[in-house]
């Protein structure tokens, strides 16, 4: 957040000329969010570390699997940021994800065909199910948010109750049974070979991302020029643009390094009239659909948090509830809406989980609330309120998932992974607290 480019150097102040200081000056000229940059470095260190321990680790196939596994938690974490920033907590996200996943399963196997008469061939069944799931999520969120914001019951209590009762309610939906066989189109939301967008679209997304970075930089500069504000030095703009573009296209290239599994590749060859070479055809799979969904969620949530009144009010309330109230902000509505957003995100998260499983079990989303809160906190969200970013939380989810995926890859069992995850959580926050105190001085 530090914008040192705006503060003119104090006359007579001795300029430091050590190389460390010069590096710091250059970094601040780029106005890069240092925290976010640090998270990226941490993620890179974790990935490189596991690669050194096992050279099979850093393959496109593994990284795509890692990403898809991180996505349900990452989607929820973007909403948890807003909830924690506005000084609340949502412990019910895991149960909510579970009940919506079960809703999808029941809709597609029972309620849509048998109650509403929408057979397997009914158009856009997957979308109808998804929309109903989103409405269910928003309704649960609104109910909990209403009790928290308007009745004044602490969010910890309300969502703890939600965690228990919603989890219990799932049992009644299916009489305790797991429900499988979803709509084939719906299943694509889970990723995998079929649920990936293919080579060409992946390059297109990469190019779009690159164009978006350039546009954002250009637009930001134009906005500041409009009023004659100081702008970043040109070299910094170019460097950020080039880095951003390289990252986008690099990710696309990496995703295209992941190939369809042999069965799907054979099918692809037959469909396109290609004679399969010996050893199988290598068809780039590209980005899985859930990755596209996460990118969309991250962009939209970041936009809501930073460019919309609602987001501004969430942060204002978190920074000083009295100030928000006195400024005439409808704080209750704002708080209620954070839980509605959380419910909608639970519906999206549940769609990915259910689609991957091709069904729903009773324990989908179990203890997600803990991973989601951990992701948000590792990503820099402060329980004191008012501080936290959406991209930070997404990165936090990836850091936590990379750790547990890497540990399982090198043969550490699940309890061992939890031990490490817990310690890393504490260390990350301790480092952050120390760093902020140092910066405040």
């Amino acid at each position: 957040m530090a914008n040192v480019a705006d503060t003119a150097p104090v006359p007579g102040e001795t300029r430091t000329t050590t190389s460390a200081a010069r590096l710091r000056e250059a970094l601040s000229a780029t106005e890069i969010d240092v925290r976010l940059f640090g998270m990226l470095v941490a993620l890179a260190v974790i990935l490189i570390g596991f690669q050194l321990l096992d050279s099979g680790f850093f393959s496109p196939a593994n990284m795509v699997t890692l990403a898809v596994q991180a996505i349900p938690v990452a989607i929820l974490a973007t909403g948890m940021v807003l909830v924690i920033v506005s000084r609340n907590i949502d412990l019910s996200v895991g149960s909510l994800t579970g009940i919506i996943a079960m809703t999808y399963a029941m809709l597609m196997t029972d309620w849509l065909p048998n109650v509403l008469g929408m057979g397997v061939d009914f158009p856009f069944r997957w979308l109808i199910a998804l929309l109903i799931g989103i409405v269910v999520g928003a309704a649960f969120g609104a109910l909990q948010g209403f009790i928290i914001a308007y009745i004044g019951v602490p969010s910890f209590v309300v969502t703890l109750g939600g965690l228990l009762s919603i989890r219990g309610a799932i049992w009644y939906f299916s009489n305790g049974a797991a429900v499988t066989r979803l709509d084939p189109t719906f299943q694509l939301l889970g990723g995998g070979g079929r649920g990936s967008i293919g080579e060409l679209l992946t390059w297109a997304i990469g190019a779009l991302g690159c164009a978006f970075v350039v546009f954002a930089l250009w637009n930001g500069r134009r906005q500041r020029r409009r009023f004659g504000f100081p702008v970043r030095p040109v070299w910094a703009e170019v460097a950020i643009g080039a880095l951003g573009c390289a990252a986008m296209l690099g990710l696309a290239a990496f995703a295209n390094g992941n190939y369809l599994p042999p069965g799907l590749a054979t099918q692809y060859a037959q469909e396109h009239g290609i004679v399969e070479p010996p050893g199988g055809l290598k068809v780039p799979a590209g980005f899985p659909l859930p990755v596209i969904l996460l990118i969309a969620v991250t962009v939209v949530m970041t936009w809501i948090a930073t460019r919309r009144r609602f987001g501004r009010y969430v942060y204002a309330y978190g920074g000083n509830p009295d100030a928000a109230e006195l400024a005439g902000i409808n704080t209750r509505r704002t708080i209620l809406l954070t839980f509605v957003v959380m419910g909608i995100l639970a519906a999206l998260s549940a769609a990915v989980v259910a689609a991957r499983l091709n069904g729903a079990t009773l324990d989908i989303g179990n203890s997600y609330e803990l991973y989601v809160i951990a992701a948000a906190v590792v990503g820099g969200t402060s329980f004191a309120g008012g501080i936290g970013t959406i991209p930070g939380a997404v990165l936090g989810a990836f850091v936590m998932q990379a750790l547990s995926y890497g540990l399982s890859f090198i043969g550490v069992n699940s309890p061992g992974q939890n031990v490490v995850a817990g310690i890393v959580l504490i260390l990350a926050v301790a480092f952050d607290t120390w760093n902020r105190r140092r910066a405040a001085r």
Partner: protein, 266 residues
């Protein structure tokens, strides 16, 4: 309250509060207060701790709904159920506790609750920064930290942000609760000049302060509160600071104070 009536100028008051009563669990914080304010006038509101000054002003700013009593703005009965409604009447408040969101920057604080938007309702941060730079250029030309969270600013800078918040929206009526309490001497002088400037522009200002010199320096009239009531409202030119101090401490009008009480004061 006949004395208050005598001290009143002839024009229609900008604000008139009639028989305002507020009690907290049996304690009468404000017990039947009448007070008014005219265009281009500064009324100092003084009194000891717990005299009811802040509570009374909270009623006017919409932060507190009184148990009974009426508020008239420009002769019309005003409904002030919350701060938003008060702002709609052009009533702006600068709170003693500096109601700023510490984690946001100056433009975000200045425009909090009234953000400028562009296109499909997205925040227009550049326009808000520009307007903030404009108003800050008037209030505090040295202010340059438009992008840092206000938590890292000095007391004077934060006060500038708080005042800019009110001034930006063309307030007609300004309530200033201890505007110089957290400031150094130079900043205090600056804020005083600013208050005079706002008065010249035709604003009516209620100035709450413990600092009798602040009040005496700036006010046209001074209302003294004591235990939830107005002791008296006097023209500044008619009294000296000692008389005002006497009212604050003893809760009696100058004529009613005995020589012994005055002697005890000294």
């Amino acid at each position: 309250m006949t004395a208050a009536r005598q001290a009143e100028p002839a024009s229609q008051p900008l604000v008139e509060m009639r028989d305002i009563r507020v009690s907290f669990g049996g304690v009468h914080a404000v017990a039947g207060v009448n007070i008014d304010l005219h265009e281009g006038e500064i009324v100092g509101l003084v009194g000891g701790n717990g005299a009811g000054k802040s509570t009374l002003m909270k009623v006017l700013s919409g932060a507190l709904v009184p148990d009974s009593g009426e508020v008239f703005v420009c002769g019309e009965r005003a409904h002030l159920a919350n701060p938003r409604e008060a702002k709609a009447y052009g009533i702006e408040t600068i709170y003693q506790t500096l109601a700023l969101a510490d984690n946001l920057d100056a433009p975000a604080n200045v425009f909090l609750g009234r953000e400028l938007t562009i296109g499909v309702g997205s925040l227009d941060d550049s326009a808000m920064e520009n307007a903030t730079r404009g108003v800050m250029g008037r209030l505090n030309p040295n202010f340059q930290n438009f992008k840092t969270p206000v938590v890292s600013l000095s007391g004077g800078q934060r006060q500038s942000v708080a005042i800019a918040r009110a001034v930006q929206f063309n307030a007609k009526i300004l309530i200033m609760d201890e505007p110089t309490a957290a400031l150094g001497p130079a900043e205090t002088a600056q804020v005083r000049n600013l208050i005079r400037q706002l008065k010249e522009e035709g604003l009516g200002i209620f100035l709450i302060s413990h600092d009798i010199h602040d009040v005496y320096d700036l006010s046209d009239r001074i209302s003294v509160m004591y235990h939830g009531r107005i002791v008296d409202t006097v023209r500044k030119d008619d009294v000296d600071t000692d008389a005002v101090l006497g009212m604050i401490i003893l809760g009696k009008r100058p004529g009613d104070v005995t020589q012994e009480e005055l002697a005890a004061l000294r």
